[in-house]
């Protein structure tokens, strides 16, 4: 899992990435120097709740981008009650980040399946 997150974190402007699961909390994190891992986990929890709220409104989120002054956060809901979030510099190519993450989603899900074989399939919501 760590190696998959590394593939995202090597993109220029990516500061940190993590996978957060309903079962297990912060599953895996990859953060550069000076960016605390626990922050990505807390941000991921807020996105996890947002995906749950979307599900209650019959909205099926594919990806979400939050733009702040210092960061851009690119988020994806995963199957098995998990989410992936990537923290980027505001000037980072968020489109490339999103495309790379989408490309790796199947591999991430496969790894998640090994970590949480009992977790149900489906969006976090």
């Amino acid at each position: 899992m760590k190696s998959l997150l590394k593939e995202i974190s090597v993109i220029p402007g990516v500061l940190a990435a993590c996978i957060f699961a309903r079962e297990g909390g912060l599953v895996c994190a990859e953060a550069g120097a000076g960016f605390p891992e626990d922050r990505t986990g807390q941000a991921a929890l807020h996105f996890f709740r947002l995906v749950q709220m979307a599900g209650m409104n019959k909205l099926n989120i594919k990806s979400t981008v939050f733009r702040f002054d210092r960061y851009t956060i690119v988020c994806f809901p995963l199957d098995r009650g998990a989410v992936l979030i990537v923290v980027c510099d505001p000037q980072a190519n968020s489109s490339l980040v999103a495309t790379t993450a989408a490309m790796l989603l199947d591999d991430i899900l496969r790894e998640l399946g090994k970590s949480f074989p009992s977790a149900p399939w489906g969006n976090p919501g």
Partner: protein, 245 residues
């Protein structure tokens, strides 16, 4: 009155002029999408309960698109299910037809052709909201292609106005803002200046928190978010000015 299955499958209508068919839809209080084809062009006229609420053709929307469609020769007509659209047309159908006829008589058809090519929107109204700022931004929004619906919320997260009759997204938009504020605290940052949600059905929800209000825009799948933001910038920064109509 929505069309029943038999009416939706009626397909091409021949021997009836387009204005006559439009008047029939109005009289019968139909809710439907009328797809008009002529040569390699296609346009759509949207009816809700017999009221023409919007039109779309090539690069045009609203009344401008309706004029363009009316100018086409030998159109074929197809009726499809209704769509929940923004009200880009506020005039009664009779006024639209009369204005089109006047334009055609005065300009020998050149006016309608020019309207089809023109990039200048000819919208009648954006929103009826009493606040001129809201009305001005709404009017600007309805002129932008690719925006399906708008939602205006106040700072407390209550809906001020929305263009969709059926899709209630106000609470969800507010929750997105709340999530963004929570993330901001975690990250020790300012914002969010923009939240962009892509859905599995291809639509995008763009949320723009502002000083005075929060704007949520539901976009078509193929719409470029940065282009929408760029087109909206004059209205959001107040450079377009409040609507004084």
């Amino acid at each position: 009155m929505a069309l029943n299955e038999g009416e939706r499958q009626a397909g091409i209508f021949g021997g009836v002029s387009l204005p006559s068919f439009l008047q029939m839809l109005e009289q019968e209080r139909k809710s439907c999408t009328l797809i008009v084809r002529s040569e390699d062009r296609e346009g759509r006229l949207y009816f809700n309960d017999g009221v023409l609420i919007d039109a779309q053709s090539l690069g045009a929307l609203g009344r401008e698109a309706a004029f363009a469609i009316l100018s086409w020769e030998n159109p074929s007509l197809h009726v499809d299910r209704p769509e929940d659209r923004m009200h880009r047309i506020r005039q009664p159908l009779a006024h639209i037809l009369l204005d089109y006829a006047t334009l055609r008589d005065e300009e020998g058809g050149a006016g309608a052709a020019a309207a089809e090519e023109s990039a200048i929107p000819l919208f009648d109204c954006g929103s009826d909201h009493p606040d001129p700022v809201v009305r001005g931004v709404a009017r600007h929004i309805v002129s932008i292609r690719g925006i399906r619906h708008y939602y205006f919320l106040n700072r407390q997260g209550n809906v001020i106005t929305q263009s969709s009759r059926t899709l209630k997204l106000g609470d969800f938009i507010t929750y997105c803002i709340v999530s963004g504020i929570q993330m901001r605290k975690v990250l020790d940052a300012r914002g969010p200046s923009r939240i962009q949600l892509g859905f599995q059905n291809g639509e995008t929800l763009l949320i723009l928190p502002g000083a005075g209000m929060i704007i949520g825009l539901l976009l078509d799948g193929m719409t470029a978010v940065d282009e929408i933001v760029e087109q909206l910038r004059p209205a959001l920064t107040g450079k377009a000015g409040p609507d004084r109509a």
